[in-house]
């Protein structure tokens, strides 16, 4: 019997998370470009959001690699 790769279970969750991240990231950049003058804190929020997201996606990949 071919051994079952448990990581296969995790990949759909990973892609789901990635879709959510792209959706929110796009909407944030969209507002930032369009209404940036009205919402100056976006300049600070955007890099904080991106750094946190990259770290957490990296952590998910580490989890998959460790299975």
């Amino acid at each position: 019997m071919v051994p079952f790769d448990l990581a296969i279970v995790l990949w759909p969750f990973f892609w789901l998370a990635l879709v959510a991240v792209f959706f929110y990231g796009f909407s944030l950049v969209y507002h930032w470009v369009r209404f940036g003058t009205m919402y100056p804190l976006v300049w600070i929020a955007l890099p904080v959001y991106v750094i946190g997201t990259v770290i957490l996606i990296g952590a998910m990949l580490t989890g998959i690699a460790a299975v």
């Binding site: 990581a7 998370a17 959510a20 009205m38 959001y49 957490l56 996606i57 989890g63 460790a66």
Partner: protein, 180 residues
């Protein structure tokens, strides 16, 4: 230099007097809720682990790490979604009128003139919670002569100051109008 807010339909001599937002404590309450959710796996995973090992199964360590990161990523999105909602909902008080900018989700955005100053009949503020008293936030209620008579803006920072700004702007506006 701070750039002044200008909307497309501003009149030539119209300028912003104050931008009114909800108090930061409203967002802080959301952060506390999300922080509590963050700790859920720390309790749920060990309990789940007991049942799984009792059933004779073994889960690789990477699974726990993956789902903890997945959970944290979802909460990270929730946090910024809440922030967007909090930060993008504003009232803009100009020397002509009050404009409501309402963010609904990510892409629905409602920008409308609530009323011109000549429509305002009365403004009142009230602080109705203990925390609101300490942190100085409350509601501003504006009564108008328009079809929709009452407007309420909840959990506003420093409501008395906002009320004063609106009253002064209204007096100036009506004074200017009577001279024309």
């Amino acid at each position: 230099m701070k750039k002044e807010i200008r909307l497309k339909d501003f009149k030539p001599d119209e300028h912003v007097l104050i931008v009114v937002r909800h108090h930061w404590f409203i967002f802080f309450k959301d952060i506390i809720g999300i922080a509590l959710l963050f700790f859920v796996p720390f309790f749920a995973v060990p309990i789940l682990g007991i049942f799984i090992t009792a059933g004779g199964l073994q889960i690789p360590t990477g699974f726990g790490f993956f789902f903890a990161s997945f959970w944290a990523l979802i909460l990270w999105q929730m946090l910024f979604a809440r922030w967007t909602d909090y930060y993008y909902d504003i009232w803009i008080v100009t020397n002509w009128r009050i404009i409501d900018v309402d963010q609904k989700g990510f892409f629905n955005r409602d920008t409308a003139t609530l009323f011109n100053f000549e429509q305002i009949q009365d403004i009142s503020t009230y602080v109705d919670t203990v925390i609101g008293t300490f942190l100085d936030y409350g509601c501003i209620q504006i009564q108008t002569a328009a079809a929709k008579r009452e407007f309420l803006f909840k959990s506003v920072s420093n409501p008395r100051h906002v009320e004063r700004v609106i009253r002064n702007a209204q007096e100036k506006f009506l004074g200017l109008k009577s001279r024309l």
